[in-house]
Amino acid sequence: MIDIEKTALYCYGVNKNFGFLPVLTNIELRIAKGQFVSLVGGSGCGKSTLLNLIVGTHEPSAGEVLVSVNGGFIQVRGHGPDRGMVYQEYPLFPHLTALKNVILGPMLRETTILTRLYGTVTRSWPALRKIHIQKAESLLARLGLSEHSHKFPRQLSGGQRQRVAIARALLMKPQILLLDEPFGALDEETRHGARELMLDLYQENMTAVANGQSPPYTVLMVTHCLDEAVQVGDRVIGLSKHWRGRDQAGATIVYDKIAPVYQPKDTKSFGAIGKQAAEIYEIVLNGRDLDPSEHCTFWNDVKAGKAEGVLAPRS
């Protein structure tokens, strides 16, 4: 395992029941800073529940969700700016333009209604707002959204909306960014662009690690597309209700392995992607009862030096 400074998120013995219905059982998950983790699983297996536990919409019935802040762990209590979230549906506020959606983050975090009122009188709030707008505009430009920054969400396409939502979450510099099937409703072409964006961000992480800095983005992404999970993530986690030794229990992690890391403009080796996707399908989605630890080899593989990406910067 890794030390606290390098950890972004730590789920420790997390269980979640809805009434008498167990949904998640004994989730042990440690995500290092800079990792892009894909979370897959059959429908209704609790992927979104796990995400909601981490973001703070639900509280775990047992166990703890910990986020590392300044070298120590802080237990998650409700929603907070240290965990960003992008939803598949309704990702943006419809009454604000793309730019105003993005600057909403710094505005809400750094000011309150009273300080804004007072700041309007002292002229300090307009000055601060100008700084926010500059930051947001440069981020939108980096994501290729400059010409759309003054459009309302209904004037944007689905892919553009998701990218603005990701920009809004990234501007908050969260410890971990949670994506709930962000590209699920997009057409194939837009999806492709969105994946490239994720690979670009991962590349920035790699550069930061190579320069001895802390990688800026950590992502946990729920997806139902296995190819996408392997291609975008550097690690794939599979949740399943079917596991050996389960007795009236919910889903747990049955698959946790390294996924290949790609450069944005790389030719992806679709053979290798497809092979791993087929493996994930066999283990996670096929409904066979498995030993939950059998395919959770991620940290052993990292120790064995098989990792690519942020956990093995030299390769």
């Binding site: 929603h79 907070g80 960003g84 979230m85 009454h95 333009t97 983050g105 809400l108 209604i113 309302f152």
Partner: protein, 283 residues
């Protein structure tokens, strides 16, 4: 024929006429408007046939209506500006009441839509209150406030507050949870979620809610003035009713109808200026 394969299809007015019988087929402007004119003509003919038949002498002829109209603007005998005086009197009662009911309704609706405690507290009470006709309860308001300005305000607020609050509440409930959760991950406090996000987001529905209650507020006001007023529309209608002055009442009602349309247009304009992002469903 040589050009048979690429005939130019020329649309004639006959083709347009055929559209009349097709369901939900959009009609060209001239055709739709001519139907409107047809209805106007129908009403004018029906009215004239009643007014000039001689069976009911109280129904004024067109000439009497015209003198009634001028009398409504400026009374040649007393020199009173009837319509203007009544409008000032009634609107000085209507507008403050609308403002009070709007502010209360917005606050109640926003908090009821976000906090279950607020909904448990006021939801059922407002639902019950909506069923009470304030004019029937006028004796209560008279006992509390007397024949004063406050009484009119109270009647109108009592009558329209449940409607405004209920519609704001419904609009807030329509806002998906994801918006509230996203706002929290962006570091918004509870009050910021309510006032900077939810309020702005449901503002178009708030404007719609207030607009739709203007009519109800006018009904309540006229009924109250009819019963207890010394001035205003309701009092005027009572006096005109007693002297059976249909030649003034009818132009008066027409004018009020056009004023109502004007108010609706003003609300539409406010909505378009304040909420440029809003597109009405079905448009």
């Amino acid at each position: 024929m040589p050009t048979e394969d690429r005939q130019i299809i020329r649309r004639s007015w006959r083709d347009d006429l055929r559209k009349i019988f097709i369901m939900r087929e959009p009609l060209p402007g001239w055709l739709g408007n001519s139907f409107f004119l047809m209805a106007i003509c129908l009403i004018v003919i029906l009215y004239s046939s009643v007014a000039y038949s001689g069976t009911n002498t109280l129904i004024p002829t067109w000439g009497k209506l015209a003198t009634g109209f001028t009398q409504m603007i400026t009374d040649p005998r007393s020199g009173d500006h009837m319509l203007w005086m009544d409008t000032v009197a009634s609107f000085s009662r209507l507008l403050p009441a609308l403002a009070i009911a709007s502010v209360l309704g917005i606050v109640l609706g926003l908090y009821m839509g976000t906090y279950v405690a607020a909904e448990s507290m006021w939801g059922r009470i407002l639902n019950f209150e909506e069923n009470i006709v304030p004019n029937a309860a006028m004796v209560v308001f008279l006992t509390l406030f007397g024949f004063e300005f406050k009484m009119y305000t109270a009647v109108i607020v009592f009558g329209i507050l449940p409607t405004i609050a209920g519609r704001v509440y419904a609009a807030v409930r329509e806002v998906p949870d994801q918006h509230i959760f996203s706002a929290k991950t962006l570091g918004a406090s509870g009050q910021e979620i309510i006032w900077t996000i939810l309020f702005r987001q449901v503002l178009p529905q708030i404007i719609d809610a207030i607009r739709s209650t203007v009519g109800l507020a006018l009904i309540l006001l006229i009924a109250t003035e009819w019963a207890a007023g010394q001035e205003g529309y309701g009092y005027r209608f009572l006096r005109l009713y007693r002297s059976a002055r249909l030649d003034v009442i009818l132009p008066y009602l027409m004018t009020l109808g056009f004023m109502g349309i004007g108010i609706q247009l003003i609300f539409n304009l406010i909505q378009r200026v304040l909420c440029p992002w809003y597109v009405k469903e079905g448009k």
